[in-house]
């Protein structure tokens, strides 16, 4: 099963909303994946067994796995394009 890290700066506010959106997105598209909410600072240590990083905030470093910045989920601008980008990464 694929594993997705959903991150924001404090791991408390924006990532909570995005976690929910990603979980629904996976359900709607019949994709089975584990969604884990964390602080962006924790991502470096958790990326080894994960497949995708979904972050509402800037990425402080380079990662070995793909990362998508999803601040648009917060501003509501062009969210469908982001949905597609995430799905494409999980295919």
């Amino acid at each position: 099963m694929k594993k997705i890290l959903v991150a924001c700066g404090a791991g408390i506010a924006t990532s909570t909303v995005v976690c929910n959106r990603v979980e629904n997105l996976l359900k709607e598209n019949g994709i089975e994946a584990e969604v884990i909410q964390c602080k962006i600072a924790e991502v470096a240590n958790r990326q080894d067994d994960a497949d995708l990083i979904v972050s509402t905030t800037i990425l402080p470093t380079q990662y070995k796995i793909p990362a998508v910045i999803v601040t648009a989920y917060i501003t509501g601008i062009n969210m469908e394009a982001l949905d597609q980008k995430i799905i494409d990464h999980l295919k």
Partner: protein, 154 residues
């Protein structure tokens, strides 16, 4: 719990005049600290986090900021609301190299990670609602701000 239940009348600042982001954070911190909402380290941590992971959001025609920091510095959860007389620069959440001029601030004091989804979704809905933000910016008293947010309840 809904967004409205986190709004504290004593943490609403209307037409606040500040020169910069530091002054804005200090002003809101003093109010929150004196009333026992946050620990002493909150201000420093808030500034540090904003410097590394900024919270400015450009919505196209307007901008808002949602400064917040780690849950361990919060004693009583709250959402502080501030409208600014003149805008203050915030870096963008998704791109630190860009700035946006913000006059609507929602400072989030949340102490439970992985929860409060409903309230957070209401915040996102609110900040995307141009007419609501315009109403908030026009409000002249904390009570008016509360009334506008009360109507936001879903």
């Amino acid at each position: 719990m809904s967004l409205y239940e986190f709004i504290r009348e004593d943490l609403i600042k209307v037409n606040l005049t500040v020169d910069n982001q530091d002054q804005l954070f200090e002003t809101l911190f003093i109010e929150a600290y004196q009333r026992g909402y946050v620990k002493k380290d909150y201000l420093q941590k808030l500034k540090e986090r904003e410097a590394v992971f900024p919270t400015g959001l450009s919505m196209g025609e307007y901008s808002v900021a949602i400064p917040h920091t780690d849950p361990e510095f919060i004693i009583n959860p709250f959402i502080a609301v501030a409208t600014l007389e003149k805008p203050v620069s915030f870096h963008l959440m998704e791109d630190k190299s860009k700035q946006t001029e913000v006059n609507m601030i929602l400072m989030l004091g949340l102490n439970e990670p992985h929860s409060q989804l409903k309230m957070l979704q209401e915040i996102m809905t609110l900040i995307q609602d141009k007419s609501k933000i315009e109403q908030l910016l026009k409000a002249q008293t904390p009570i008016e701000v509360q009334e506008i947010l009360k109507k936001n309840r879903s």
